[in-house]
């Protein structure tokens, strides 16, 4: 037994030398490098994603967008000759899960790159960790999570732009329609509170009185009494910053209780009204609401690869049981992949500082349009759409695939129509 092992060891050493020599010769050629890397470990991109819990309705289509990019890039031979692999954990939509998940991704899984989870709440707690480790992080639709942390390797895929641009564009539309006062209704959680804070600041700068300013706790079941209180203050502009489970409840209460003839503009920051299932179930209740969005099927929104992406997404969404439309998040998930793909190809490396430098200094062509970052890692210019629901009928999700159901009012370069006001008139 001992002899066998020794002989084997002797043969093994000889073979090892032969293999090493051949390997060294192969590696010396460019083809050899590619072959070795292609056969080597894949490039691993780690992330958590809400796949259960309140944010899962967004997390799942976002992940599908990233998966479509992975499949596309692997079909083209991968990056640096290596396949791309995703390491994904479900964070259950919870902020308490993500620090441990990202520690594991960094220290145990030893991934090459990090993508942030969808949404502000799960992303905020990982920012200090990622900054401390000096790692590149591609953000995924979180809002203002880097404003205080100041991490210079953070790049948000969302179209938000400067912090106040979201509220400013909404209030611009309202004031142009004659709005002279504002009501503010927001969910008691980080994303909505950030939106509400910037709305207050913008209103303050414009001396626009805030006649109603109320937050509601998570798990609020019935919004009738809140809407009654809001209605009693007779505001001209109603800015709502809500999360998916609440947006439907608020709209239903508005429809039942009424919001008053004074209201010229209603909506702004209602998360959920971008999701196919909510849009389908709300149907005609959506008419008149002016709300933010990221992508809509208007002519001006198609860039290189957009059409092909949605063809793939539409097919895969059915079997994945995710949002059949997928406008809001999925193309931006794909764009996250395009950002790192372009940076890796340009720098020919996975060096995180080099990638961050490239992302910061260049404009990147993606399926959601050109993306350029400001020093805080947000878009240089806002690309958030404000669109008004028009002519929506009940129980028909296919209607949202055609243009005209959400008329873009902002930004000017993508505008596809004018505001119909007051709000009650736009609902008919």
């Amino acid at each position: 037994m001992t002899k066998k092992v020794t002989e084997a060891g002797s043969i093994s050493r000889r073979r090892l030398l032969t293999t090493a020599s051949a390997g060294a010769a192969l590696a010396a050629s460019p083809l050899g490098i590619n072959l070795l890397q292609a056969q080597g470990a894949p490039i691993r991109i780690g992330m958590s994603m809400p796949q259960t819990g309140g944010l899962a309705g967004g997390g799942k289509p976002s992940l599908l967008g990233i998966e479509i990019w992975r499949d596309d890039v692997n079909a083209k031979g991968g990056l640096l000759g290596r396949k791309v692999e995703l390491v994904v954990y479900d964070d259950k939509s919870s902020a308490s899960e993500t620090p441990a998940i990202y520690s594991k991704l960094i220290d145990v899984d030893k991934v090459d790159l990090l993508f942030a989870p969808y949404a502000t709440v799960p992303t905020a707690p990982i920012m200090p960790l990622v900054k401390q480790r000096g790692l590149l992080l591609i953000g995924n639709f979180s809002f203002q999570v880097n404003s205080k942390v100041g991490h210079d390797m953070w790049f948000n895929n969302a179209p938000w732009g400067p912090a106040d641009s979201w509220a400013a564009s909404f209030l611009d539309i309202g004031q142009k329609a004659g709005g002279k006062s504002m009501a503010l209704l927001s969910a008691d959680q980080e994303f909505a509170q950030n939106l509400a804070k910037t709305a207050r600041e913008v209103a303050g700068k414009r001396s626009l009185p805030v006649v109603f300013d109320q937050s509601y706790p998570p798990n609020t079941v019935e919004f009738s009494s809140i809407i009654r209180g809001l209605k009693a203050t007779k505001p001209d502009i109603v800015y709502v910053a809500s999360y998916p489970p609440d947006s439907a409840g608020i709209l239903r209460a508005v429809n039942e209780i009424g919001i008053g003839g004074s209201v010229k503009l209603f909506g702004g920051g209602m998360v959920g009204l971008q999701f196919g299932s909510v849009m389908e179930s709300m149907g005609s209740l959506l008419n008149g609401v002016v709300n933010y969005n990221s992508w809509l099927p208007e002519k001006s929104m198609y860039f290189d690869g957009t059409k092909a992406f949605f063809e793939k997404y539409t097919k895969r969404a059915v079997e994945a049981k995710v949002d059949p439309l997928g406008y809001y998040l999925a193309p931006f998930g794909y764009a996250s992949g395009q950002l790192v793909e372009q940076a890796i190809k340009a720098t020919n490396s996975l060096d995180q500082k080099g990638l961050a430098k490239y992302l910061r200094e260049n404009t990147h062509q993606t399926i959601v349009g050109p993306i350029a970052f400001s020093p805080d890692g947000e878009r240089k210019e806002t690309a958030v759409l404000q669109a008004q629901f028009r002519g929506v009928t009940d129980k028909n999700i296919e209607q949202f695939r055609s243009s005209g159901k959400q008329v873009i009012l902002f930004p000017d370069n993508l505008k596809s129509g004018e505001l119909v006001a007051p709000f009650e008139a736009a609902r008919t």
């Binding site: 796949q51 259960t52 819990g53 309140g54 899962a56 309705g57 997390g59 799942k60 008691d188 109320q214 937050s215 509601y216 706790p217 998570p218 798990n219 609020t220 079941v221 019935e222 009738s224 009494s225 809140i226 009654r228 209180g229 009693a232 998916p244 489970p245 439907a248 409840g249 239903r252 209460a253 429809n255 039942e256 209780i257 009424g258 959920g272 999701f275 196919g276 299932s277 909510v278 179930s281 709300m282 209740l285 049981k321 995710v322 949002d323 009940d394 129980k395």
Partner: protein, 290 residues
């Protein structure tokens, strides 16, 4: 003043809805001492059942709720038997184990719903959803009036069942003294199993109300664990009419606080009320002293 009146009216209606979704728990936890933390998960499951029937066949959600009631009764019988065999009959620490059992069941239900329906919100359609009854300047959503009517009907039916029928009296008896019932030749486990079936069957209707009042998603059960247990404990374990009254008190308190102070305070006020009631009357508002 108008706002206060509105708040009281909305609170009564909201309270009735809370009452309707808590009545089943009042039987399972209040009368049977089963730590049924999966009650809200059963409720959400019923909502999805109603959703399927409404979506596929266009049947009114309330009728759909009635249609799934027998299925939920059988489901309740099976769930209790499983709980009894694997946990309850094993000893004095069954209560603690029971919580783990029902938490597990709740998570399984949640995951099964996600696998089957995805994570998106689901809603039903009916003529009374999205419309309201106008009285002068006040508008009352029809869906909340439906909740009010159904809660009242459920409370009356359950109260009559528990007080007027042989099986109902047996259920109350098993809640008071299981051993005495055994000495009289009755099998308390079968009575409890039947009662658990009734408690689960009630969720068929309550689940219909849940999806009538607001869209549902697979994780909605988490929002109702606190509320339903708060209502049942505040009422005094096992009192059906007490459950409805406690739920109305809770609903009115929530809406008045929301209207006059701010919605952020509403949950704190609700649970402060529960603590206050328990401090003064540990047996709950309508419970009997042991």
């Amino acid at each position: 003043m108008d706002l206060l009146l509105d708040a009281v009216v909305t609170g009564v209606l909201l309270g009735c809805f809370y009452g309707a979704v808590s009545l089943g728990l009042s039987v399972s936890f209040g009368l049977l001492d089963v730590p049924h933390v999966a009650h809200p998960a059963f409720l959400v499951l019923a909502s999805y059942g109603v959703f399927i029937i409404n979506e596929q066949y266009g049947i009114d959600p309330l009728i759909a709720g009635l249609l799934i009631t027998p299925l939920f009764f059988v489901f309740g019988l099976i769930a209790y038997r499983l709980y009894y065999e694997t946990f309850e009959k094993r000893g004095s620490d069954a209560g603690v184990r029971g919580i783990a059992f029902f938490f597990g069941v709740a998570f399984i239900i949640e995951v099964l719903i996600i696998i089957q329906f995805g994570v998106d919100q689901r809603a039903v359609t009916a003529d009374y959803i999205g419309k309201s009854w106008r009285i002068a300047d006040t508008r009352i959503p029809y869906r909340m009036l439906v909740a009010f009517a159904v809660a009242a009907a459920l409370t009356i039916v359950l109260t009559l069942y528990l007080s007027r029928t042989f099986m109902g009296r047996a259920i109350r008896a098993v809640a008071q003294d299981q051993e005495a019932l055994r000495l009289m030749g009755a099998n308390p486990i079968r009575v409890k199993q039947w009662a658990f079936g009734i408690a689960t069957a009630v969720l068929g209707i309550a689940g219909a109300l849940l999806i009538i009042v607001a869209p549902v998603d697979p994780t909605l059960d988490r929002a109702y664990i606190g509320r339903t247990f708060c209502v049942v404990v505040m009422a005094g374990l096992g009192s059906m009419s007490g459950t409805l009254v406690a739920a109305i008190i809770l609903g009115v308190a929530e809406t008045i606080v929301t209207t006059m102070v701010g919605a952020s305070w509403a949950p704190a006020i609700s649970f402060a009320m529960l603590l206050g009631v328990l401090a003064v009357r540990p047996q709950g508002l309508f419970g009997r002293r042991s």
